[in-house]
């Protein structure tokens, strides 16, 4: 599954020469530091980390990348993605979730997410996905594609 083409001026242009500032939203306090280190391995600079989305910070900082663990988002996830997009229009939005349904992935992409990672991805997969999204602006975990393929196969 491919997301919609990224619109507007892309902040990822030129990221090859600098580390992308990244805002990480992760509620699991004992996991957040490990996640941040993994993202830094992928070439990001984690500039801020919080348990919940701080929209004021987001609007002020306009980070290159917003990485959200959506399992702990109480509100509707596509709505949340749209809110993030409206506060920081040029950020690359990465969603990290335990969901593996293709329909869910499509809804997130349509809402404005650039990259989708499942929680079953290894750190190597996440790093590779980050490099991909930083270079071309989009990435979708292969597990979503596998779900889409299996649904398609069951219909034909």
């Amino acid at each position: 599954m491919c997301g919609p083409p990224y619109r507007g001026t892309l902040s990822y242009i030129g990221m090859a020469t600098r580390r992308a500032s990244t805002y990480v939203i992760e509620r699991q306090a004992f996991f957040a530091p490990y996640l941040a280190r993994t993202l830094e391995t992928g070439g990001l600079h984690v500039s801020y980390l919080s348990a919940d989305i701080e929209f004021d910070y987001l609007g002020r900082a306009l980070p290159d990348v917003v990485f959200i663990d959506t399992d702990f988002i109480v509100d509707d996830v596509p709505d949340t993605i749209r809110n993030v997009r409206s506060r920081s229009p040029e950020s690359i939005i990465c969603v990290y979730a335990s969901q593996t349904s293709a329909a869910w992935a499509r809804a997130c992409h349509l809402a404005g997410a650039n990259a989708l990672f499942t929680k079953f991805a290894t750190s190597e997969e996440i790093v590779a996905g980050l490099l991909h999204v930083l270079s071309v602006g989009t990435h979708t975990d292969s597990r979503y594609l596998a779900d889409a393929a299996s649904r398609h196969a069951s219909q034909v």
Partner: protein, 220 residues
């Protein structure tokens, strides 16, 4: 005969062996890294599924079982772990801050229930406590359960005196304090005391709630 310092020192505790059953790959690695950084723990093992061989081989003191990601029914998962490593303590790990889920986990036989938003130090302290034979329940959820228990107790009509029950019935009939006083031949001040006691004992804050209580409990 004098004892040497080595003989009177408390026996050193062996490092705690933990096995983590966690499908979220990065989280499993993060947990294992936390244990690696604490001298109280031996290197932890992990697997994305309930792997009987790996569990038996690692001889864990404690198994951490993530119940969020498709490991089947909680009780079945717990039983499978118990069959593999009967002596090991079992801790359920979940993203859900749910007292119902915690009760289900504990009633299934778990020795603890951890919510994934706790801090690293809380996490390590609770795992140590469980591995040493203790029991751990998330304090926020325990608080909720205790409050609920207190509310249930508070709603017991046996806590009310006969006179307070009279006042409850009359409030439910829509009488004012003055009318209740006239009916029961007691002063306005005494009525206010009775109502205050009723609110306190039933954990209520308004006359309408008292009326609802009376209806639900067949007092009117």
């Amino acid at each position: 005969m004098a004892y040497s310092p080595a003989e009177i020192a408390p026996p050193a505790q062996a490092p705690i062996r933990v096995f983590v059953v966690e499908r979220q790959v990065l989280l499993a690695k993060a947990i294992c890294q936390l244990f690696d950084q604490d001298a109280a723990f031996a290197a932890a093992g992990d697997a994305p599924e309930l792997d009987a061989h790996a569990l038996r081989d690692s001889k864990p003191d404690l198994v951490i079982l993530d119940i969020d990601h498709g490991l089947g029914e909680m009780r079945e998962s717990f039983t499978a772990v118990r069959e593999c490593v009967p002596a090991a303590r079992v801790c359920m790990l979940s993203a859900h801050l749910s007292s119902e889920l915690m009760l289900r986990a504990l009633s299934a036989g778990a020795d603890g229930y951890l919510v994934k938003d706790i801090t690293p130090s809380e996490f390590l302290a609770s795992v140590k406590a469980m591995a040493r034979g203790g029991f751990y329940a998330d304090q926020r959820l325990s608080g909720m359960l205790l409050r609920r228990h207190a509310l249930k107790r508070g709603h017991n009509r046996e806590d009310l005196s006969a006179r307070e029950l009279d006042v409850v019935r009359l409030i439910a009939q829509g009488l004012s304090n003055k009318e209740i006083g006239e009916r029961l031949m007691i002063s306005d001040k005494t009525i206010k005391n009775h109502i205050s006691n009723i609110f306190s004992k039933l954990h209520l804050a308004a006359r309408t709630q008292v009326a609802v209580y009376a209806i639900h409990n067949g007092l009117v």
